[in-house]
Subunit: 125 residues, 2 copies
Amino acid sequence: MRFSHQRESIQSIVYSTNSHPTADWVFQKAKKVVPNISLGTVYRNLKQLEDVGLIKTIYDGNIARYDWNQAPHDHLKCKECGELIDIELIDDDVRRKVKNKYQFEVDDVKMVIIGTCHKHKNKGK
Amino acid sequence: MRFSHQRESIQSIVYSTNSHPTADWVFQKAKKVVPNISLGTVYRNLKQLEDVGLIKTIYDGNIARYDWNQAPHDHLKCKECGELIDIELIDDDVRRKVKNKYQFEVDDVKMVIIGTCHKHKNKGK
DNA sequence: ACTTAATTAGTAATGATTCCTATTATTATT
DNA sequence: AATAATAATAGGAATCATTACTAATTAAGT
Ligand SMILES: [Mn+2]
Ligand SMILES: [Mn+2]
Ligand SMILES: [Zn+2]
Ligand SMILES: [Zn+2]
């Protein structure tokens, strides 16, 4: 894989935010640096970056989001504002439990907490 | 919501399998009962059935799958054959932990275990 | 039977993502 | 620095899942 300005930009854009951006969000940002970059290039590079292990893909409903954070962690999906927020709570327990209870080969445990984030205090009730 | 043969069929098809079928799979089956049912009807009814709480939608990557099983449970996604298999391990712990640690309103915890199902014993190594 | 509105089939439209291809840019080699 | 080999790109077409639209049909209450 050889150097490209496009890929550099795309990577640094993903690394610049904690918002788990979509391909299109990255595309909009990237255009400010590489004006006539194409959406296909963004997708292709995001995939490459994932293949090399520089970013991770998170499927949020039916849309792909990208995460620079390689550390094993989970996410809170706020049903008020839709944001996807990092949380670390890692049950290494879970891994063990499944392994013991079902003899499955466990590679990863993906957890999404559906709830309401701190921005919406005193709403319901 | 009034009666329709289409909806009846669609519901019974979803209820007939543990495979977490896609809309298209349901569509293929449904055609055998209602030959000129349309895919749109399948989608519309799946959504209605979900609204009424008769089925649940699971997003598997970027494709929707449907589950008759209302009981809180999690899934194993087999990376060999792609199947989505029910598992019950429900950490009610998790719910408590998040609540205590972050003061989030937690509505649901969705967990997907990525791994290899029993059909692929003695594969790797 | 008559009326009303929900539901449908069929098809067009959408949105996200992937694929295709002629051109361009990077990198290694002279 | 020029040359060659080929990875990467822009732009657009194509695909896939899903939703929207609409005239015709149908369930259900009177
Ligand atoms: Mn994250
Ligand atoms: Mn299930
Ligand atoms: Zn929020
Ligand atoms: Zn399997």
